[in-house]
Amino acid sequence: MQALQIFLQNWIYLIGAMAIFGIGLYITLTNENIFKIIVGLDIIESGTNLFMTAIAWHPKAVMPIYTATNQLVVNGKVVSADPLPQSLVLTAIVIGLGTTALALTIAVKIFEKYGTLDVRKIKEAKR
């Protein structure tokens, strides 16, 4: 039981992150529909974000916010979760949002001009 607990503490978020990453990559690489590809890219980004939060977390972590009751530092040692990756995730989420918005816009325009959302059919007649 102890071993399982330690295993879960060590690996659960990492495995989750990698699973999400792999699923996203699989979706991106196998679906021909542009929207699904964009969804796949988004899922990949989620996997990365989860990974970044996972490396900030440890089993005894408290939230990194000073409140009246929350002690971040005990005996000269920081006990909170690592705030830096969390702030990086904030940034990464916004960047992912921007990329997704732009990708969707391009998808909309592609549908307008090519009349299809199938990546295999988006090509010019003359090469």
Binding site: A56, S80, S87
Partner: protein, 277 residues
């Protein structure tokens, strides 16, 4: 791999590639501190949490920060206890350490992040540029929808403002706050057929709030001689009026994100006719 590769081949290839990649990740993770082995004290975050970067800087300048073999002695940086609601004039006044990193210690990242979002919104608007056609919902929104969105908009807007104003105290900040505001505006779009926000207002708002951020940064440059440096007193940790320029920046970011995301929603909802020829 060609354009006409059968789906099955693609799937099998993708699966095998991803499997190899994940095994690679797994092997790398084995060497990585994880779970209970994660030690925040060995990371630079320790200094951010303890808000003693200045001490560390002094130690570094005296040559006491790096040990032999260039190992940083982050655990040796002395700690001044911080009490919520009492500690004054810390080097960074935000109670939320994530906020203090996002806006203060790594504020330049955030400026870049705002820029990315701004560029995305600009790109969306640029690509969907054209002469607007009259928008028409597929189903006419009901009266409840109309009234409900109007009423809830005020509450949502207020909530958004609350989130970004309290960014330095509670989870949240400019980006979530802005997104909340934009969701209120999305509600308005849903609630009324042919709803048109004030384009000019959005644009001016967006520009001014973005410029405000840069101008705050430049003020830092000209008053404290460093771009994006805090030039205001940090106050007592836990107060609403504390943490120096973090509140100002989060207000600017919140307004900017709100305006930007509303503009994105607007661009995506409205049909346009292109004017290339």
């Amino acid at each position: 791999m060609r354009n006409d590769t059968p789906a099955l081949v693609k799937r099998i290839t993708a699966l095998s590639l991803i499997t190899i990649l994940l095994i690679g990740f797994f092997l790398a993770f084995k060497e990585m501190p994880k779970g209970s082995a994660v030690n925040v004290n060995q990371r630079v975050s320790r200094l951010y949490v303890m808000k003693n970067v200045e001490t560390a800087t002094k130690m570094m300048e005296n040559g006491k920060f790096f040990a032999k073999g260039i190992k940083p002695l982050r655990t040796d940086v002395p700690y001044t206890p911080i009490t919520f609601g009492k500690s004054k004039n810390l080097e960074d006044g935000a109670a939320n350490v994530v906020t203090s990193i996002v806006v203060d210690y790594r504020g330049f990242d955030t400026l870049g992040e705002v820029t990315v979002l701004f560029l995305a919104a600009t790109g969306v608007a640029m690509l969907l540029f054209g002469k607007e056609k009259k928008r028409k919902n597929k189903t006419e929104p009901s009266l409840i929808m109309y009234v409900g969105t109007r009423i809830s908009f005020a509450i949502i807007f207020l909530f958004g403002i609350y989130i970004f104003v309290h960014g330095h105290l509670t989870p949240g900040g400019g980006f979530p706050g802005g997104a909340v505001i934009a969701s209120g505006i999305l509600g308005l779009f849903l609630g009324k057929n042919g709803y048109k926000p004030n384009h000019l207002g959005l644009k001016v708002f967006e520009s001014l709030s973005g410029m405000a951020f840069v101008i705050i940064g430049l003020t830092g440059l000209f008053s404290v001689h460093s771009f994006l440096a805090n030039f205001l007193p940090t106050g007592v940790i836990g107060d609403l009026y504390s943490a120096g320029f973090i509140g100002l920046i989060y207000i600017a970011i919140g307004m900017k994100v709100g305006a930007e995301l509303s503009a994105v929603v607007n661009s995506m909802i409205v049909d346009v006719e292109e004017e290339w020829s």
